[in-house]
Subunit: 318 residues, 2 copies
Amino acid sequence: MKEVVAGVDIGGTNTVSGLVDRDGNVLAVDDLKTTEYPDIKDFISNLAASVNRMLSKDKSLKLLGIGIGAPNANYYRGTIELAPNLTWKGIIPFASLLKEKINVPVVMTNDANAAAMGEMIFGAAKGMKNFIVLTLGTGLGSGIVINGEMVYGHTGFAGELGHSIVVPGGRQCGCGQRGCLETYASATGLVKTVLYLLSDRREESILREIAPSELTSKRIAEAAAERDKLALEAMDLTAEKLASGIVNAVVFSSPEAIFLFGGLAKAGEMLFEPVRKYVDLKIMPIFRGTVKILPSGIPENNAAVLGSAALIWNRESR
Amino acid sequence: MKEVVAGVDIGGTNTVSGLVDRDGNVLAVDDLKTTEYPDIKDFISNLAASVNRMLSKDKSLKLLGIGIGAPNANYYRGTIELAPNLTWKGIIPFASLLKEKINVPVVMTNDANAAAMGEMIFGAAKGMKNFIVLTLGTGLGSGIVINGEMVYGHTGFAGELGHSIVVPGGRQCGCGQRGCLETYASATGLVKTVLYLLSDRREESILREIAPSELTSKRIAEAAAERDKLALEAMDLTAEKLASGIVNAVVFSSPEAIFLFGGLAKAGEMLFEPVRKYVDLKIMPIFRGTVKILPSGIPENNAAVLGSAALIWNRESR
């Protein structure tokens, strides 16, 4: 028998599943449209069918468990709680519903924690005991590993670095606070920064030719790569705020590395170089030079499935 | 034989040692003037003599180990490194020097980490797996416990929440940064806030009768207790900044409790009440009501010795 784990990434629009072996090979993938199943029981049935369909293709496979990354997933309770971007409202006992269909261990957490677990088991954090993954997408998610263990905290919701405050009284955040890190250091934050600069500065920029609703971090990074001054300034300001968040995380847990992942991280050295510069400038001397700022070591097309599967492989490897 | 542990608290002026049993009873205490031994070897010899002197009083005692709290102590290396307030310069291999004199396990960390360990083994954090101790003295120290383990980080210097930045571009800090939490939320920070208010406000205050060099957090807390408006405002501003630091720590590790300890914490409800108010106001909804803000449960006169001894008792209890 060949042991495999199912990794499931539940997003607001799509849910992707895959079978992953101990070495991180993705043996099969399958997907569902999350939005097509407003009734959670329908979704669970179809997700179980999807996993069974993948397993049925090779009779030698033995399923060890199912790891799930989902918005507002609670590790301790196996629930999805009050997720604003999902159609299922309230507190969903997801893990127990799924176990009724497929009786194997089910482990859930949010997507950023799953990304961190993927990095530790299959990626560039192999062997590291203390590191943080920041996912820079629409928001800023974080997965924190300390002493070789994921940090879930007393509530199961720890690791919300996107909502650490870097600018008191700053930009409005969806969470109700102001000045949260994710309002600056995310794909959305970068767009906001460009809009602000367009309002404030007089200089020419190719970004003035793009309707605000069409503006993306990708377009801005491309403009920066073409040395558009305003785009470069926006990248620099974004990097500076991200560095502030990183510096506050470093005085807390003194990690060996911070991994940057997700849409904004695709800007590459255009982002990493100024982030490293500002971290070095802002950090207290005792920590200077102690923390690496690195790209993820996980292949991006399978990152979410690998991360979710890693939740189970991490337990198996103990 | 009765098993005991020696707890040693090394300060810039005084070093206090004690023998502590498994239940947290302090069976003996002894002290040294740290400043009298500029040569580290003399200090080590006298510290060893001090421990042996305490042990010699009861032949039934068996020493299991020595726990040490000291400024800039590194847990991994057993060193004291570049401590600005100690006479020993450079990197001192303290633990190995002491083991040459008394051959038992020696565990070292900084005083705030020792305080957190004391809280977990002997104090109000018994049974808690996720909590933070903030020591509000001249500076702001922090000891962080996650998943039941002290957070030392990759470098051994983790837990410097006093140097998380709460006011970008704010007050000068001794660490070289600006706007660090400890420049506001410490006994020294409270005095600074009063001096600022005295410069800015026109209202009468009994604090105007005290020379700035004589101003202490104790005097200010007394004035606040007497409803001096300016003192009350200073307490409120201090509580607000402390709450900012706490809120950023909560999104990181979601602790069950934050313990406030040290000189400024003696202000009691005068401080705790506004801190709780601002934490509740600033914290993101998912964490609201999940974290208790509590006073230390360790008797203050023996806190440092108990904390240091707890470093060893924590190992013994595994």
